[in-house]
């Protein structure tokens, strides 16, 4: 039952998204110079970034949803 519900919802979003494919990007690829700047990266520090999450996880009860990636130059 739960499976059918999930698949049903997703088929619905399929229909919705096929309409959405007409949305034109409002930030053009040639307007992304600020977003492509390294200071606008969600993950600037690689190893150092993941280490501090480990420090917090070892001392706090909360865990998860610590990081992400995206934005950038959108090239290719």
């Amino acid at each position: 039952m739960k499976t059918h519900l999930i698949i049903g919802l997703l088929l619905l979003s399929l229909v919705v998204m096929s309409g959405c494919s007409g949305i034109k990007p409002w930030v053009k690829p040639y307007e992304r110079n600020n977003l492509a700047d390294p200071i606008m990266s969600l993950d600037r520090h690689g190893a150092a970034g993941s280490y501090i999450h480990h420090v917090y996880q070892a001392r706090e009860g909360a865990r998860g949803a610590e990081g992400g990636a995206g934005g950038g130059c959108g090239c290719n």
Binding site: P25, K28, P29, Y30, R32, A36, D37, C75, N76
Partner: protein, 171 residues
């Protein structure tokens, strides 16, 4: 009491998804038709360059930015292509879309190119050409018509570029 992982069915689903989905992908080069819109832009060679003045030559119009990795990657390859086919009536116009041209010039100092670089600081020409990927390359034939479009750059695209230039130069 450990639960077993239903890894086999998950793996199979996953592989199927990727294989079937890959059927939906488009190829990287597209054929175009129609006149290439005219424009005039300042160049790094001192004077302004107008597209219409280049009628009779094959023009490879490339939109790039200093902050775009793949754009920077293809620059030396484009330079090699330019040097090889220039005498046969071929030119490259590299339209830079950086808001601040100093960024572009900084890059060109470390990676110099011999073809003209044009400055489209307010993106007017990028809009006219409906640039929707970085980089974008449009091949224009001797009659000033758009013939081929490349969106993005990946290693190996330069082979396609050369094939198309060869073809257009012979017309």
């Amino acid at each position: 009491m450990k639960k077993s992982i239903k890894s086999n069915s998950i793996l199979r689903n996953f592989v199927m998804t990727v294989l079937i989905s890959s059927m939906a992908f488009m190829t990287q080069a597209k054929e175009l038709s129609g006149a290439a819109p005219d424009f005039t832009l300042k160049s790094n060679q001192g004077k302004n360059i107008r597209l219409q003045d280049l009628r009779g030559q094959v023009v490879m119009l490339n939109f790039w930015a200093s902050w775009c990795g793949p754009c920077r990657q293809e620059m030396p390859l484009m330079d090699a292509l330019y040097k090889k086919y220039e005498k046969l009536g071929f030119t490259i116009l590299a339209v830079n879309v950086d808001e601040d041209s100093a960024d572009a010039d900084g890059f060109l100092k470390s990676v110099p190119v011999t073809f003209p670089v044009l400055y489209d600081n307010d993106s007017k020409v990028s809009e006219i050409y409906a640039v929707d990927a970085m980089p974008t390359t449009v091949m224009i034939d001797r009659d000033g018509n758009k013939r081929f479009l490349h969106r993005g750059y990946k290693e190996g695209y330069e082979i396609e570029y050369e094939k198309q230039v060869k073809k257009l130069v012979r017309e």
